[in-house]
Symmetry: C2
């Protein structure tokens, strides 16, 4: 069942946050939504962390006539995986994003203008430190779990390693301890597409640089799918309205990337895209530590990992590297390799593949 | 041993060629090089076909002070795989390219101006029909073999299926019967990068649109490498001159793509890049036939295929599809899956992996 109509909330921390870079970002506003009720013991809270271009609107609708529910509605609500009859579910927009939390499109109070490229480079660790303020604000000592995929999985890893006392478990889907050179390369060409757009103006645009951002999204989109899923969806079909010998004639897959790319321009800020791409590329779970062994020795909670066979952005071997280290140092860890044709996006599209295992974990940690 | 100093030659066919699109391209000029001596029986000729951005300069140097030899020098020369003491080796620049053969940057004799986008869309089959003129001109009835990788492999497939009487064998490396949606998608975003460049001007530029073309090449470059080879070469190293918290700070892999992309602008015409990308995407060995079975039933010569394990542009399963059909219909076929970390580029970088098998094939077909 759906959670129904939900409301966006917001929290501002005037004193801000000291970032990994050493810079201070202040104030910080975090936009968030919650679903279900926090129990008297404040022991039933679950944090869901979003991916690159996600937001706080995880589930339900903001108005009766909303055409679509939140981005992961399928797993949140009465009787669903994150059962709002039992759990208090929280999702907040990360800093650096453009859905209400402080990011490059926010007004810098010291100048009265948008930060744009004066916004500091942020890391996934910074995002999680900001989330900690929210959990404090809600009066929660310890989260039952932190659950997220992709960049959301990186956030779950940061909770597990940097705030080990504050979680009873974490669920990490389609993530990586550190993106490989190939993943960085794909983000690099996406950035380059925006830099090439003359309307980007080193971030000082009035209107989103549409051609560059659409192309950047198109490039990203390829990494979210797989060879198999693209063949299943498009194969080599040619656009019915184009001739194969038209210079500008398009394959269906080409039209799809273009269509989705230009749609994205209406919903996402180009500078946020760049800052979050950078946070993804810089991500290293062992950032500031000697090794993965060292950082994972800080973990106190059981961790549950899911990787998807056709995910070539953050391939299973990268998750397995973490699992092996955790097993070696004796931390409780569970790993599920899910056969899927959907590539990186599988975590969003095939929730039924991990629902039983996550449910069992939640029961075990005291849900 | 190197073939030494070589000379570019050229052939013009005034009457031109009727293309797959139905359009006539006339005249056609083909630039080519030859190495070794054609024997009296004219039975020792080998055609090497080049890939996307290759050219006719296969081996040797054009001048004593050339810094580098031709693009596949390692396999051509006395004592090398294509032994010029025994074989007469030919390589010609494909139509549509920009190294002397007729392409979009050529002058259209009817207008006195560059074709640019008035150049017709061409196919790999058209390229091979143009090559047939050259083989006729050289007085060769039957080639001992046609050997090529990637788009060169597609050309070898066209010789095998469209001109079956004119080859005694073909060697197809890192090719595909038809690129998959994912491969098309990567070319689509590369095209898009050029289209986005305001200096491209729908092909009517005076100077190559550098930012767009460099980015397009950067995207292409990712598809030529592999996750494994990129990790081996760059891993997550950050540029030594940049700070990790600099907004424009780059990973080494990012600098490399940019450096190579901008170098490419000096050597390749943007419109040629687009026309050949289109020829690659449109490629289908069964173009005009009911099935791969039907088209492969035309083949008369033994075919030798090589695929490389880490090639994700034209993955081994695609070569295997052809091998299976040829086996099913009983045509002599040989298949070698080469373990390699080098991705699609492996065919150029690891010639020693296929040298013994190709040598044996040449002996067998009467070299």
């Amino acid at each position: 069942m759906s959670v129904g109509i939900v409301q966006e909330q917001s929290l501002t921390i005037e004193t801000g946050l000291r970032l990994e870079s050493g810079r201070i970002l202040a104030p910080i506003t975090l936009v968030y939504e919650t679903y279900g009720t926090l129990n008297a013991a404040r022991s039933n809270a679950i944090l869901v962390t979003h991916a690159w271009t996600g937001n706080a609107h995880l589930a339900g609708k903001l108005a009766e006539d909303d055409p679509k529910p939140g981005w992961w509605d399928a797993i949140v609500g009465p009787g669903r995986l994150l059962d709002t009859d039992r759990y208090f579910v929280i999702c907040s927009n990360v800093i650096g994003s453009c859905y209400g939390s402080t990011g490059p499109a926010s007004i810098n109070p010291r100048t009265g203008k948008r930060y744009n490229l004066s916004f500091p480079v942020i890391t996934v660790r910074d995002m999680v430190r900001a989330q900690e303020f929210l959990i404090d604000h809600l009066g929660i000592d310890r989260l039952l779990t932190v659950l997220g995929g992709s960049m959301g999985g990186m956030q779950a890893l940061e909770w597990a390693t940097q705030l080990p006392e504050r979680i009873a478990s974490a669920v990490v889907l389609a993530a990586t301890p550190r993106p490989s050179a190939q993943a960085i390369a794909m983000n690099a060409v996406a950035r380059w597409a925006i830099f090439n757009d003359p309307t980007w103006k080193k971030g000082e645009y009035r209107k989103n640089p549409k051609d560059g951002l659409a192309l950047a999204r198109g490039i990203g989109h390829i990494t979210f799918l797989s060879d198999e899923s693209m063949t299943a969806k498009f194969d080599r079909r040619f656009s019915a309205k184009d001739g194969q010998f038209d210079f500008f004639g398009q394959f269906e897959v080409e039209r799809y990337l273009s269509y989705n790319g230009y749609n994205f321009v209406d919903r996402f800020d180009a500078n946020s895209f760049l800052y979050l791409a950078k946070a993804l590329d810089l991500y290293d779970v062992a950032w500031g530590y000697e090794s993965m062994e060292e950082v994972f020795s800080l973990v106190k909670a059981p961790l549950q990992f899911f990787a998807f066979t056709s995910d070539w952005l953050y391939p299973p071997y990268q998750t397995e590297e973490m699992v092996n280290v955790l097993q070696k140092i004796g931390n409780p860890v569970e790993y599920h390799l899910i056969p899927s044709a959907y590539g990186h996006d599988a975590f969003l599209l095939e929730h039924e593949t991990f629902t039983p295992m996550v449910k069992a974990l939640l029961e075990r940690v005291g849900g």
